[in-house]
């Protein structure tokens, strides 16, 4: 009688512990992120395989393009899988908004040379 009571309470304590262990360790692992629900099943499979490759690819390209190695990780961390995909695809050709002054300088030089060699005559003195 004493043994079985002991066993009963041990089983009760252990089962509570096991259930709680399941809950506490990674309680939210079984909850699906909403981002997994806005892509189709096929996309999700592909991105699971590709995301890591894309990440490495983008990391390499960023370093090649002069981004400080220490900053690369923080930048990668904020990108979603589909954003990584797009960057991996055309990081070197996608529009990179910079500046209009560079163009003005280049065109100005061309015009200046043309002016100096006498092909055009646009830089007149303001009267």
């Amino acid at each position: 009688m004493r043994v079985s009571l002991w066993r009963k309470s041990a089983i009760a304590v252990l089962s509570v512990a096991i259930v709680n262990m399941g809950f506490m360790s990674t309680a939210s692992a079984a909850i699906v992120d909403t981002s997994a629900l806005v892509t189709t099943a096929r996309d999700a499979d592909l991105s699971a395989i590709r995301a890591q490759l894309d990440r490495e690819d983008v990391r390499a390209q960023m370093q090649e393009l002069g981004v400080d190695a220490a900053a690369v990780d923080a930048r990668l961390a904020s990108l979603s899988d589909s954003e990584l995909r797009q960057l991996a695809n055309d990081m070197k050709n996608a529009p990179a908004g910079g500046d209009v002054l560079g163009l003005l300088g280049a065109v100005f030089l061309v015009l200046l040379v043309l002016e100096l060699v006498g092909v055009i005559d646009i830089f007149k003195k303001v009267p």
């Binding site: 089962s15 509570v16 096991i18 259930v19 399941g22 809950f23 309680a27 939210s28 692992a29 079984a30 909850i31 699906v32 992120d33 909403t34 981002s35 997994a36 629900l37 806005v38 892509t39 099943a41 096929r42 996309d43 999700a44 499979d45 699971a48 960023m62 090649e64 393009l65 002069g66 981004v67 400080d68 900053a71 923080a74 930048r75 961390a77 904020s78 990108l79 979603s80 954003e83 797009q86 960057l87 990081m91 070197k92 996608a94 529009p95 990179a96 908004g97 910079g98 500046d99 209009v100 002054l101 560079g102 163009l103 003005l104 065109v107 100005f108 015009l111 646009i122 830089f123 303001v126």
Partner: protein
């Protein structure tokens, strides 16, 4: 100096002349915007201004829109996050991703001037990509629309080193057309754009969710529910935010609503089952899981369902007596 200014003007004209082939006629800033929500003119003059340093219009423009959305920032702090030295510029994808780091959502507007003006009218400046180059020699530039005047047909921007640049709507449209009409607005959690597409907003909110606090994620999806109550993903998103805050009953309600709209939504059912389990209702949870057909699921979803099943089975064994009486109320 006078010479340089004059030359710059000549050069600017030259650049515009080259890209003006597809210029349209008539006023471009609509005097009466379609839905009547936009004013005839507006200018957000309190928008911060950061004169750009060489090539760094991306960080400057981003600091401008972040500042306007209540995130104090400056270009120097953003350079390490968006600037790419060898490209001498910043990419759109990264411009979209960075606001998330500061608890803001970046939404790319539909490619219409109306969408930009409606945002400005609602008090949000809009980041745009311009192209002042020619097809073979593009010159990309970020600027921020802070105002417009339909009587004068003008657009006002913070751009480069110019605090208040006034462009004719036509010149604005030329540069914007050549930049493929890309425009982005930064939203506080809880705001939705004036002209918004439900699916696109929910994608933005879902990417935002990963790094956001549950409270911010809740606000973002709550706004979606108010605007598009028939979108299951909006309810799922808010449910998950509730779950992560520990409000399990509120989470169960939201997941149940998502399932009422779309009974085949596996994500909603999985999350609902998980929530029921944590509410101490393993029998109901198992019942929900039994309705999932896991044959055609993506990897992430399938793994989650398998995981939930294991937890539910484990709990059911330890809990053989059936669910407590309160559980059935959670199903409605």
């Amino acid at each position: 100096m006078v010479f340089a200014k004059h030359a710059a003007r000549v050069v600017a004209c030259f650049a515009f002349a080259l890209v003006s082939a597809c210029a349209t006629r008539g006023p471009l800033v609509p005097a009466n915007l379609t839905d009547g929500s936009s004013k005839p003119s507006a200018e957000l003059s309190s928008t911060p201004f950061f004169p750009q340093t060489e090539y760094q219009c991306g960080p400057a423009a981003l600091a401008t829109v972040l500042g306007a959305s209540g995130v104090p920032s400056n270009p120097e702090a953003l350079v390490p996050l968006v600037y790419i030295p060898e490209r001498r510029g910043s990419l759109q994808i990264e411009m979209q991703a960075v606001p998330r780091k500061f608890g803001r959502l970046a939404y790319v507007l539909s490619p219409n001037l109306d969408a930009i003006l409606a945002e400005v009218s609602a008090g949000r400046p809009v980041l745009v990509l311009h192209n002042y180059g020619v097809p073979l020699f593009p010159r990309w530039h970020y600027a921020v629309v802070i105002g417009y005047d339909s009587a004068k047909d003008t657009i006002v921007l913070r751009s480069g080193v110019t605090e208040r640049q006034v462009l004719s709507a036509r010149n604005f449209m030329r540069a914007w057309d050549n930049g493929k009409r890309w425009a982005m607005v930064v939203l506080r959690p809880g705001e939705t754009p004036v002209h918004a597409d439900a699916e696109r907003y929910l994608e933005v909110a879902a990417s935002f969710e990963r790094g956001a606090t549950p409270a911010d994620a809740r606000s973002a999806f709550d706004a979606a529910i108010r605007r598009w109550p028939d979108q299951p993903v909006a309810w799922i998103g808010r449910g998950t935010a509730e779950y992560r805050t520990g409000n399990l009953r509120a989470a169960a309600k939201d997941y149940a609503e998502a399932l009422r709209i779309d009974a085949s939504n596996v994500g909603a059912r999985n999350n609902f089952a998980m929530t029921l389990l944590e509410l101490g209702c393993p029998v109901q949870a198992r019942e929900e899981l039994s309705r999932i057909d896991s044959t055609a699921l993506g990897a992430e979803l399938r793994a989650a369902v398998v995981d939930t099943r294991q937890r539910v089975d484990l709990a059911s064994e330890a809990h053989a007596g059936g669910d407590p009486p309160g559980c059935s109320a959670l199903l409605n």
